[in-house]
Symmetry: D2
Subunit: 338 residues, 4 copies
Amino acid sequence: MIIIMNRDVTEQQIETVLAKIRDHGLDANISRGTERTVIGAIGDERKLAPEMFDSLPGVEYSMHIVKQYKIVSRESHPADTVIDIRGIPLGGKQIQIIAGPCSVETQEQMDASAQFVSEAGCRLMRGGAFKPRTSPYAFQGKGVEGLDMFGRAARKYDLPIVTELMDVRMLDTFLERGVDVIQIGTRNMQNFDLLKEVGKIDTPVILKRGMSATVSEWLMSAEYIAAGGNHNIIFCERGIRTFETAYRNVLDVTAIPVLKRETHLPVIVDPSHAGGKAWMVPALSRAAIAAGADGLLVEMHPKPCEAWCDADQALNPQELKNLMGVLRQIALALGRDL
Amino acid sequence: MIIIMNRDVTEQQIETVLAKIRDHGLDANISRGTERTVIGAIGDERKLAPEMFDSLPGVEYSMHIVKQYKIVSRESHPADTVIDIRGIPLGGKQIQIIAGPCSVETQEQMDASAQFVSEAGCRLMRGGAFKPRTSPYAFQGKGVEGLDMFGRAARKYDLPIVTELMDVRMLDTFLERGVDVIQIGTRNMQNFDLLKEVGKIDTPVILKRGMSATVSEWLMSAEYIAAGGNHNIIFCERGIRTFETAYRNVLDVTAIPVLKRETHLPVIVDPSHAGGKAWMVPALSRAAIAAGADGLLVEMHPKPCEAWCDADQALNPQELKNLMGVLRQIALALGRDL
Amino acid sequence: MIIIMNRDVTEQQIETVLAKIRDHGLDANISRGTERTVIGAIGDERKLAPEMFDSLPGVEYSMHIVKQYKIVSRESHPADTVIDIRGIPLGGKQIQIIAGPCSVETQEQMDASAQFVSEAGCRLMRGGAFKPRTSPYAFQGKGVEGLDMFGRAARKYDLPIVTELMDVRMLDTFLERGVDVIQIGTRNMQNFDLLKEVGKIDTPVILKRGMSATVSEWLMSAEYIAAGGNHNIIFCERGIRTFETAYRNVLDVTAIPVLKRETHLPVIVDPSHAGGKAWMVPALSRAAIAAGADGLLVEMHPKPCEAWCDADQALNPQELKNLMGVLRQIALALGRDL
Amino acid sequence: MIIIMNRDVTEQQIETVLAKIRDHGLDANISRGTERTVIGAIGDERKLAPEMFDSLPGVEYSMHIVKQYKIVSRESHPADTVIDIRGIPLGGKQIQIIAGPCSVETQEQMDASAQFVSEAGCRLMRGGAFKPRTSPYAFQGKGVEGLDMFGRAARKYDLPIVTELMDVRMLDTFLERGVDVIQIGTRNMQNFDLLKEVGKIDTPVILKRGMSATVSEWLMSAEYIAAGGNHNIIFCERGIRTFETAYRNVLDVTAIPVLKRETHLPVIVDPSHAGGKAWMVPALSRAAIAAGADGLLVEMHPKPCEAWCDADQALNPQELKNLMGVLRQIALALGRDL
């Protein structure tokens, strides 16, 4: 923690700051410059917060110098974490493409989807049974019945399933139904009670980035899960909100190398929700893999035009197959598999 | 719903769009321009969604022409709604300033706070027992014990209490403890399961705007509550996230007149979280009232420097009293009371 | 300047940083914490830049601790600067409302405008002869002819004129035509050659904030003008670009108290371009004055529906008159005149 | 142009809108829906603007349905444009990496840079003689002397040169000095007088995207150049401004496929300014090429730690060479050369 004092600070004001630092068991260093006096707190600064000092007289501002996340940081765990999802590794040399429809609709649709996902060479499947929709009048998902349809379809092709959890009261049902990876959606990235609950189990969790969450807040949300004991966390970049209106969100590829530097955990990308249009998905997918992502979460529907939800962003089976081919070439160029 | 077709659209593609519109029981109007053909769907367009058409061949894009919110819209209810909070009107001529500490700390702190709030002339009190914190290692609130402390302190001065609900499982406890106004925080504006639950009761709900929620999404979140039957909804603007780093958030005063035009429900402002510094609160409070807000949610702490949370943004009792004086003058200039 | 070193920094790396600091004539202070070593540069840190250190091995990041603007800072000049515009004071107790049409169209329109501006009680007039338009096919302004029309109309009512300069090659013409206040538009806030030119004269300059300029960048742009010798600078907040699409820009009222704290120069607001709709202008104007602005730049047109440019954001003469009445009440509530 | 009327519109109000449309020589189509009446203007809608209608009584809002850019649109010119830069093609199958230092410093530095750029396999060179700097106290570039140093160094290796023009008064000097490609910087994307001037010559122009410019505004700025007669325009995405503070800008890779669809002109990317750190450059470069960019503008400095400007974002010669190797692999995966 560094505390920058006002130009005309008094000795009394400096003493008050020093006393507050020492009260918390830390030491202090004072640097008197020509324009500002700077006080540095020496010791475990996680015990301190800028707001403790910013309200004291004579303080201009204060700031942490060490990141506030710990378990998820690469500093605490230098090697890459590879998460095992029923035998499928995520976060290692092999890139994983998780494909499937936006939402579970019918058993037939899920059976067909599972077949196409498997045929395209993907090793995991996605599908939503509970859907967060902006409008209360829109289709809200098939619910528990949808989970069952999804499970039946995926089992035939031995595909682990990935699906979104929105409500803490549904967690037990998810576990009973054998959900392999729990997805925490964008709108729930800072639903702290939900994060605490999935922190108590050991099922892998995909943590999507909030619409306007900073990388630092996102890492802190992961730390909520990790602090509970569940270290099987996968970050998923899905586009951020900006001023641009020509596409739904701006896929933040810079977050990929930055996260890979800051955390040891896997990083994947959702190119479908980012752009919001199927024709943008191949370009965004290639960019994500080229930037170093460990995998993708891609929407594919057997018949996109008939999808009940996000029809305009799903690839059709052939498009998914073609995409897999190009991504494999890029993976090889980077010394990885797919 | 308007559907804009590509320049080189075929008759066959136009027919497919028309068929889809008629399948949903609406009629269509075709306008063939020199550069584009535009199809208009005639009937209740809430049955349609742009994504149904955007994936069809020949479609350039499509869009709703009517707003998707209904119960909360002023179109459906032209007169201002005044919400009654244990006899205190919110949304009418009288402006309400809801003051109190960021978080409940001790009984003494709450007793002193209630006294100062009442003495300053405020008629409602705020205080957090459950705190959404970015870091899992930060103080998470006093919980149910805090609710009790808050209730005891406020009762002495007959102040209705406003406090944040984060977890659906806590709703019954809130109701048993007699919480007068339930606050849904910024991070939960699109926690749809929580919105549905508070939609089933009739306790007034303050719905804070999400960090980067559009006015339209915010109105749709209110519609979730209203669709459940609870029409006692109060919008609270609290600053949005932008590129600016000199202050925590940018208070969006434009949202005030826009909301007053779009909805019949009351609109209040939280100037404390917006700026993030106590010295900004008076200017932001004056701006909010001058722009037409029906009230404020302001942080006040008996001893700001000792606050356990957000110490740098709370007013002290004297500052609150002074602020009330100026706001009263501005209210009068606008033909309102305070 | 503070330089934060990596956790596993070597003595050699620290020495390299110290050497670089000393090379520039400054001293250094070293604070060795439990997790990080922090080096502080002591002396005139404006000689240093973070990029000098960030590329050195062992450096995590570095940052200035003192603001980079000097002449425009309140630290260098504690008292408010009041700018004299042909006898009209801007920046003092009296608030100035600068009104007029978006663009100069005809002599009749300008004559009528000047009359209405004067009758409403405004003391300065605005009008654009050179218009920055997003499209090359849109009306680009009447040019020099427009300047002349504007001058003739304003002279009759003794109103100093405010108009936008876009091209350095036009500066002499502006001075010859007796422009009283030169406006630098949003798109030119960082047109540094233009800033340097208006820094060489002493005509007052209104510096509009860039669409997504931080307060700090804005102050630095003013410093460009001030560094050339022209200290007659007026900041004009006009809304910033965000994710919100319900209105053109988000008026950033927080910038008002922040600027008043950081600089001694006057701060005004343009409520017309901010919201983009005439019906939003009264609310935004009231908010701006209540937040502490020293004036406004408001669009008024004798017949808004017939305006050649931005027709939907201009007030009509009666609306301007009404607005002046309410603003006067708010000014009084704040202990100011209008 | 589509004009949406209010729910309670009168026949008189509809007539006024129709008259305005016909006044401009267009026809109209009226669609009376259950909730709204929609009027469509039929003919060349570029003669109309939403603001003409939005201020009329009874109008809710209006909007263009056709894009406002014409010459630069792919609709007007379906095939990709390949720009010839002294024999080097940009925009075709071959990808071009334009490398060089941020700013021209000395003849020795430029000579060494040119040699390394050429050895790495790049075919064009970049370097700034005039630098747009946020602070007036920072190094502003070597000016005309710098142009000469740059020319001498590049000529030895037969590298066409790319350099930034900030001031219209310098254009003749640039042409006399034989600048091969003129760069219009981020801060000047809407400096319309500058755009008009470079529209009058035929030297290729790199048009960088403004810090918070929408894709549509960017295309309109290109249209300014094209409307003057110069169709040799190259778009350069360089990161946009968002709420994220962990990196300087967010590289908007989605803009690449969107631009390639909207315009026939080449699109390149500047990965150095986007991230702001050299260690991010390889990942961002790979993402850009994988997403379909036609080239890159990359900073390389013989000795990054000693650079006078942006030292922390330049690659060293070996890093550039390595990057070229990987990019070549990705280009091949996409069926392109490098």
